[in-house]
Amino acid sequence: MGDQWTKWQESVINETAANAKRLARLPSLLQRAQRVKKGATPSEVVYELDHIKLLHYPTQSPPKFATPLIFVFALVNRPYILDLKPDRSVVNHFVRHGFDTYLVDWGAPSHADRFLTLDDYINGYLANIVDFVRERTDAPRVNILGYCMGGTMSAMFTALHRDPVKNLILLAAGIDFSTRDGLLNLWTRAEYFDVDRFVDAFGNCPAEFLQSSFLLLKPVQNLIEKPISFFEKADDDEAIDDFLTMETWLNDNIPVAGEVYREFVKYLYQQNLLVQNKMPVGKHIVDLRKITCPVLNIMAKADDLVPCVQSMPFNDLVSSKDRHAIIAPAGHIGLAVGSKAQREVWPQACDWLAKRSNAAR
């Protein structure tokens, strides 16, 4: 009994000392948070239009594959989540595999952009970017990888402009919005959320509004568990580095152009028009059956933002004969940065694309 009591005392004293040490480290972490690097792989801006930038990832050796790959990210956050750290970079996987890789940075829309629509983004900006890359690389077609809202937009682009897309990879992309699994699907129901009044009053959808909605998806984890876990790992340099990099990205929200937000909420979340092949984009109607290129649909099992069931129907809605799906045991963001996804999902995705790409001459 005496021994046990000594052990107990020891563990309590050790824990108290560790907490004191962690507490002392906190002020220095603030400075470290300001030094977090955004984007790990060396890149160059090769194309700019309004707020949009196209990043290219140059390599010392020429690319192994003839078809370039374009990453299309969502409009709600910055795209460097796809290239967060050298060991947690989706971009780096494809660059190392020998793909000529590009990343679309949509930038933050200003108030003057509030009337930009999905038509402007899909048939305007994205179409211009695809044409630019085709001309730059002398490739007739490109591969597209769309993440989250960028995946939905990539699917719409591929349905509307079939010829320039050789292979399409979707990553946690919302397609069928009929599910009530996700909280966002519930909160945006027409009887509770009047998106017209919201956009008419606010113009662009404010970044703070999006940020607080995302935080509220898992309030206990985000507001209680995360700070505690941060404090407990304050003496672990690597864990702190990961935490600060991740938090920098999470808090780097950008507003969404008002009309795009209106269209996304109304036509997708409220009316679910994409799966019915009735989604209007400008003068055009998106018909997913027109997609015939090979598709890879990557989903996250524990995704609370875009539940698996929301992405799952995509492969059945397209006419492609070559279609594959990967369900990763990860969350929405873990799919891009999680160590398990880095080990298992991305090498698999790189192989899938490599098998469907021509070798460079």
């Binding site: 046990q4 239009l49 044409d131 509770y192 206990v220 209680i224």
Partner: protein, 153 residues
Amino acid sequence: MNDESDDPKQTAEQWAAFQKIWTDSFAKMMQLGFSYSPEAAPPEFLRQIRTGIFQALSQSWDQFLRSPQFMEGMKQWMEQAVSFRKMSNDFFTKVRHETQGTAQKDVDAVLVALQQLETRVLNRVEELAAEVDALKTGRKGGTPKKKKRRNRN
């Protein structure tokens, strides 16, 4: 309140589900307490209890965030926020107009006018492109080309 939240049966079901989450969690914590080994250090034991509480808390929150009561509250809060924003927009528009200034509303009107002008020009360019295409191929009413790309520069 909507019909859903007024339904006593549904409210009772929600309350029962909420109770179940906490009863299960406390049962788990009790189990943990009985299976406690003196070998384990107290901080580790407390961490396990904390994890149990957080699990129950997050389940309860998830249930609450899905409840009609929350949705109704959210709707009212949003309506108030939108009304307040509209009121302040109207106020500032009035102030700027009174001082012969340009309000956001005027800038928006110009933007809309420009966008409509751009759409009309692009539509006309598309039609012309289709006509040129038809002339080139020597066919009557040739198939129109795909939509002209918008260059916003």
